[in-house]
């Protein structure tokens, strides 16, 4: 097996590693990282001067790229009966998962919930006019950036590559020789892998309650908040989705996780994706597209 070219940079709030087999034209990896960086900065809510922050303040107009993302988010919102909601940003800010995670009071949660809900989004021309509502694409911006990066690689003729952005994975083609890429699913409780997926030309994303959480009085509070209740979604330890694009895998993993086991399975079937579900008791179940 030939040696791949591997590069890692820190973007999108995590590590982004790209592994490419075959000849790599000069400048391709730079272009790859440049595109990922562009999206990372554009949709970063942490930065007050990012496009998304300005959009949320009604300072700039909705551009074509963001309209595309919003349309996609609406699709997933509809499909998940509101479990996946890009206006959950305000709630995330309250819980402080990006800065100082803490348990907010029920009153604080109730108050913030009045600003959560895609149906509350208002526009004045092409600028946001719903004060207090925060559009947040972090539920799938990573996946989107990975897809855009993959597009750069494909356009430059690369036919065998693996992109890993903090556990969101997208593979191009197969490994040299035709073997599928083997992607493990992390055990949500403890070391090791619980399952190996063999994929080609696909994306794999996982939402889990073990990545970003805090514990208080013996209860785990994690970052996958249910926009309908204001509290972390219960029902799963982790959800892994295999899809054609990373954006889809990313969004659906979050949507299914928040929706819970019953609705989650329905979502996977309706979206026609393969999903590996590990429920709150650690039981693993797989859903396949075309399975009834």
């Amino acid at each position: 097996m030939p040696e791949p070219l591997v590069r890692t940079r820190f973007l999108l709030g995590t590590y982004v590693t790209v592994k490419v087999y075959g000849s790599v034209p000069p400048g391709v990896l730079e272009e790859f990282f440049s595109e990922v960086k562009r999206i990372s900065e554009k949709y970063s809510l942490e930065s007050k001067n990012s496009y998304i922050s300005k959009l949320n303040r009604g300072e700039v107009s909705l551009d074509r790229e963001t309209l595309g993302l919003l349309d996609f988010a609406k699709e997933i919102w509809r499909l998940s009966r509101g479990a996946f909601d890009p206006t959950v940003g305000r709630l995330k800010l309250l819980w402080g998962f990006n800065e100082k995670p803490h348990l907010p009071s029920p009153q604080e949660i109730r108050r913030v919930l009045s600003f959560v809900g895609l149906e509350k989004l208002r526009w004045e021309g092409e600028k946001m006019a719903s004060r207090g509502v925060v559009l947040d694409f972090s539920g799938f911006a990573k996946g989107y950036a990975v897809d855009r990066g993959a597009r750069v690689l494909l356009q430059k003729g690369i036919r065998s590559a693996l992109i890993d952005a903090g556990g969101d994975i997208r593979v191009i083609g197969t490994k040299p020789g035709g073997a599928p890429w083997r992607i493990g699913i992390k055990n949500p409780r403890g070391p090791g892998i619980v399952k190996v997926l063999e994929v080609k030309d696909a994306a794999v994303a996982t939402s889990g309650d073990y990545e970003n959480f805090f514990e208080k009085d013996g209860i785990r509070y994690h970052h996958l908040l249910d926009p309908r209740t204001g509290y972390p979604a219960r029902g799963f330890q982790s959800v892994t989705v295999v899809s054609r694009t990373c954006m889809e895998a990313d969004a659906l993993a979050t949507a299914i996780f928040v929706a819970g086991p019953v609705l989650g399975k329905k979502i996977a079937r309706e979206a026609s994706v393969r999903a590996v579900l590990i429920n709150s008791l650690g039981k693993l179940e797989e859903v396949f597209p075309g399975n009834r």
């Binding site: 590069r7 493990g184 699913i185 070391p191 090791g192 996982t206």
Partner: protein
């Protein structure tokens, strides 16, 4: 089918699957016939305290109706073929020194497989050594390889990251971050990792600790 022809087919099957194991070092193999290989493998896994079966090729995958690996426990490559006719039960155990008498060491699994009776499927199970060579963790800082840690020796290691210090601990072949200068300590909360491509990541420090090894190309989390 004469016993000699059968053995030739069995060894041929072993040879075909051996292409994947070159240089890895075999621990042993079991070859047996079965009328219901999927069921037999499930039972065998139970008898042996857990097997993680990895189909050796497309045909095996197809016959077992498996899309990836299955189960957990000792890794075993499984190579399955349908024979042109049913054959009498024939079971061969091969250890590191050649063909072994199963009644001495594997009496339980042997008697289970014997009860299987006649079968149309030839199953070859090959057990790989846990690791050919020492298990190692690699520490990357700012995208560059900074340290290699031998996981066979318990110990503590210090890593200088972008913002400060991280302390890693190796214990019984696993590694974890016990301390870190970062605020959120997500790296510490990750706990122990043990499988190739599992990672402990500290973003503020720009540190990635991962286990070296083949078998996987990535881990989704």
């Amino acid at each position: 089918m004469k016993r000699r022809e059968f053995l030739a087919l069995a060894i041929g099957a072993l040879g075909a699957s051996a292409f994947k194991l070159k240089g890895k070092g075999l621990k042993g193999s079991i070859i047996f016939t079965s009328s219901n290989p999927k069921e037999a493998l499930k039972r065998l896994s139970k008898e042996m305290g857990g097997l993680r079966l990895i189909p050796a090729d497309e045909e095996t995958r197809r016959l077992l109706a498996l899309s990836g690996s299955w189960g957990s426990g000792t890794r075993a490559l499984v190579f399955l073929r349908e024979l042109p006719q049913e054959v009498e039960t024939s079971i061969t155990y091969t250890g590191e020194r050649g063909i072994e008498d199963p009644r001495k060491r594997y009496s339980r699994t042997y008697s289970f497989l014997r009860r299987e009776g006649r079968g149309r499927y030839l199953v070859t199970l090959v057990f790989e050594r846990a690791s050919s060579g020492k298990a190692r963790a690699v520490v990357e800082v700012e995208g560059r390889r900074a340290m290699e840690i031998d996981l066979s020796r318990d110990g503590q290691y210090e890593v200088m990251g972008r913002e400060g210090k991280m302390t890693l601990e190796v214990s019984r072949g696993k590694i974890r971050a016990v301390e870190s200068s970062c605020k959120k300590k997500i790296c510490v909360k990750t706990g122990f990792i043990s499988s190739p491509h599992e990672k402990i990541v500290c973003i503020p420090n720009r540190v990635i600790v991962s286990i070296e090894g083949s078998g996987l190309d990535g881990v989704s989390f």
